[in-house]
Symmetry: C2
Subunit: 314 residues, 2 copies
DNA sequence: GCGATCTCTTTAAACGTTTCAACCTGAGCC
DNA sequence: GGCTCAGGTTGAAACGTTTAAAGAGATCGC
């Protein structure tokens, strides 16, 4: 910047003015400065700027697993929307490990991100609260409101699970199980609870996986698809022997050979909304606690079918 | 930091010393400072530090499509490795759009990333060169060396395609096509060329998709899997009517219902290598132009089978 | 008892911006 | 001609760190 100033015979303050487009600057000067800028290939140093204006124009996205297309899609949308407004995004993986999550968030705080988005927050985590205490706006996409100060993209899991249960019971299923990744640390999991409640309304209870369920609901599509593979490799056909339902509706779920009955969520919309909420909160200079609900509904495909021997043993 | 200094009755320089763990500091002082630090919940401002030390400890990862699990896996590994060394990663999506790519890279330069990694670089892009000119180390994962100054994770597509062609011709296929995403802008695509050369060695030439090929090689697994779906929805069975081979070996390819014959690449290893190359280059203070080759080899699964009527018409 | 030598600590100048207040320079006005 | 006033421009102080160089006590040898 000094070089540009020297070369165009003005002060750095003026250069700053033309870069920022504010403050009055004579047309002649402006063009002279602009020339100098591209002769020198000058690119303003955002870190200096960040230091001065106390804003990094950077968002943190804390994601449990970038390989889950649902999470990836949300993160992608956030990135797009953020880039559009001149924000960059720092992604941090947690691998579902609370210690790593804490570590990552610490790093983000150190880097002074302007806000952090959790595309999937773990149930008991105190992290968002800590961020809010530090004055960092937070938006989570989550099943239900928690700390009132944070932005929430709400998905109505209860309603979705009700649809699932009605579909399944309508097909004659009574022994229904819930499946999630083994290393699930009672985290993220509001879903088994939602299922339990929906079943209860039909006088049912979830059964264990080794109780030969005729249908199983999975915590997400990845698990569901893996389960189908496991079942079929061990000789049980889906949906003839057992029905499987997923959650998220990732792209592969619609593939003819997979044809997974699942709960559809609009990841693109959710990501965009999350980013917009965040951007708005930042612009408003504070935590605007908003909650926006997005619908989720069942899509019936080929992985669910009539129960084999309704109510009977396997 | 001033607060910490005041509270513990020392100068900011001393606080800095204890934070950085360098310079001699008396045990008594150190503990006093540490106490003050956590009483105040002080977190050093990395942006100020970055400005001073002229290093942001941040890497840029420029990725065409975060929804492609192969790219996502590489990015993920980079993030892990980088985090391990105290680096953060800024991800930028290009959506295969050169203009957006340029824009994103400009943003990264403005933010003074210490290096940028391209998990998949577009063929004609001048971008890496520009970065190198600015003194920003670059590593690309790519098919062949280009600018000698950049780090390259090399994959031997020629050898892989040779395996593919041998497998296919061994099954009696002679009319073999190549398929890639429609909006492919002759970018990334060294693969059709590699296929062409491998075929030539058997006296064959690729045919067009509408010439009723008996086998088709896809530019990646996503395309291959989508192709299978399209074919089957239009009544042609895979592999009975047409064989399909992919590239990358993303996780779903191994699923029993998909069972895609494909070229396996170790994304995890590639990501890790890319990150390590970069970290090493940064530590060495320059562009250490290294090329590390990773093997890629064919995995035969169920999506390829004997040609129907060898050499004959569909 | 006095300089030399340690060990620990502080002073102050960066790093590259932004921004506020102050400063010019003409022009317009009476 | 002196006044105000507006448009342009600039000086300099931040922002929160790091780090080289200088300082301040102790300790020690003689």
């Amino acid at each position: 910047m000094h070089d540009v100033a020297r070369r165009s015979g003005v002060s750095v303050a003026t250069v700053s003015n033309v870069m920022r487009g504010r403050g009055p600057v004579a047309e002649r000067t402006r063009t002279r400065v602009l020339e100098a800028i591209d002769e020198l290939g000058y690119r303003p140093n955002q870190v200096a700027r960040s230091l001065k204006v106390r804003s990094t124009r950077t968002l943190g996205v804390v994601i449990p697993d970038a390989l889950n297309p649902f999470h990836a899609a949300i993160a992608l949308q956030v990135e797009r929307r953020a880039h559009h407004d001149g924000y960059a995004v720092l992604v941090a993986e947690t691998e579902n490990d609370p210690a790593l999550e804490a570590d990552q968030v610490r790093a983000l705080v150190g880097r002074r991100v302007d806000g952090v988005i959790f595309p999937a927050v773990t149930e008991g985590s105190a992290i968002p609260g800590e961020l809010l205490d530090r004055g960092v706006p937070v938006v989570v996409v989550s099943f239900e409101g928690r700390d009132a100060r944070l932005g929430t993209i709400d998905i109505d899991e209860g309603a979705a699970m009700t649809e699932v249960v009605e579909h399944l019971t309508g097909l004659g299923h009574r022994r229904i199980a819930f499946a999630s990744s083994g290393q699930l640390e009672e985290s993220i999991e509001s879903r088994p609870e939602a299922l339990r409640r929906a079943l209860a309304r039909h006088g049912l209870e979830p059964v264990a996986m080794d109780a030969r369920p005729t249908a199983v609901c999975c915590t997400n599509d990845i698990i569901a698809i893996a389960l189908i593979d496991r079942l079929e490799r061990s000789g049980r056909r889906v949906p003839d022997d057992v029905s499987v339902v997923g959650f998220d509706d990732i792209p592969i779920a619609a593939h003819g050979r997979i044809s997974l009955t699942t709960v559809h969520q609009d990841a693109e919309q959710m990501g965009r909304l999350a980013a917009e909420l965040m951007l708005k909160a930042i612009a408003a200079g504070g935590h605007l606690a908003t909650r926006v609900a997005v619908p989720a509904h069942l899509i019936v495909r080929g992985s669910t079918g009539p129960a084999r021997a309704p109510g009977g043993a396997g």
